[in-house]
Symmetry: C2
Subunit: 123 residues, 2 copies
């Protein structure tokens, strides 16, 4: 039975804002850290975001599976005692796509800034 699973606490952000960015976040973390397992990604995102973004495991694990299915990630299983960990890492294709995704996100954020905060765009 589940008593208190911190992975279930809601993010403070509108759910919709996260859409499209979860993949980029995962790809980026893996690019920086080499290989990580699901729960580790959850913790790292929590840490880096000052506890503001708390990924739901119902979002994270399917996302990892999808990225694997699409050939961007690969994984190795490791055992600590009887517990399984799936260490994910970027495939060559994943490394390429990561750059594209990141560029697109960066560009999108700059554009959004121009639209939403035009006063700051006069640099």
């Amino acid at each position: 039975m589940r008593y208190c699973n911190s992975m279930y606490i809601c993010s403070m952000y509108s759910k919709e804002l996260l859409k499209g960015t979860l993949s980029v976040i995962i790809l980026n973390l893996l690019a920086e850290n080499g290989r990580m397992y699901g729960y580790e990604i959850f913790q790292r995102v929590k840490e880096l975001s000052d506890e503001k973004i708390l990924l739901k495991d119902g979002s994270l694990y399917p996302a990892l599976q999808k990225l694997s299915k699409d050939g961007l990630l690969s994984y190795e299983e490791e055992y600590l005692g009887k517990r399984v960990r799936k260490y994910y890492y970027l495939t060559p294709k994943g490394k390429q796509e990561k750059v594209v995704y990141l560029e697109e996100l960066k560009d999108f954020m700059m554009t959004l800034n121009k639209i939403i905060f035009p006063q700051a765009g006069t640099i």
Copy 2:
């Protein structure tokens, strides 16, 4: 029949990235411009984004309807000859919500920056 409707040209951005931000964009534009009609919003976003974000009318009009249904927008119909224009404007509730949405988006973008571009976070 449709020959060449510029509103149908695809945005260069991953569709998913726009999710959650369309409402904020609309609310923000209306807050700055008082009142606007759908096609005008499309054009303004196109202009402000250097033609990078081209809203689909299949996204924009339903979004305007939803925001109206939720009580954030209201509108007045005006006629230019026989053509109808629906001028949308923020309700008092919409003005409040706009601030909240914007704060949330701003906060989310800063958090995302921390996660994705941690090197810049050492300010």
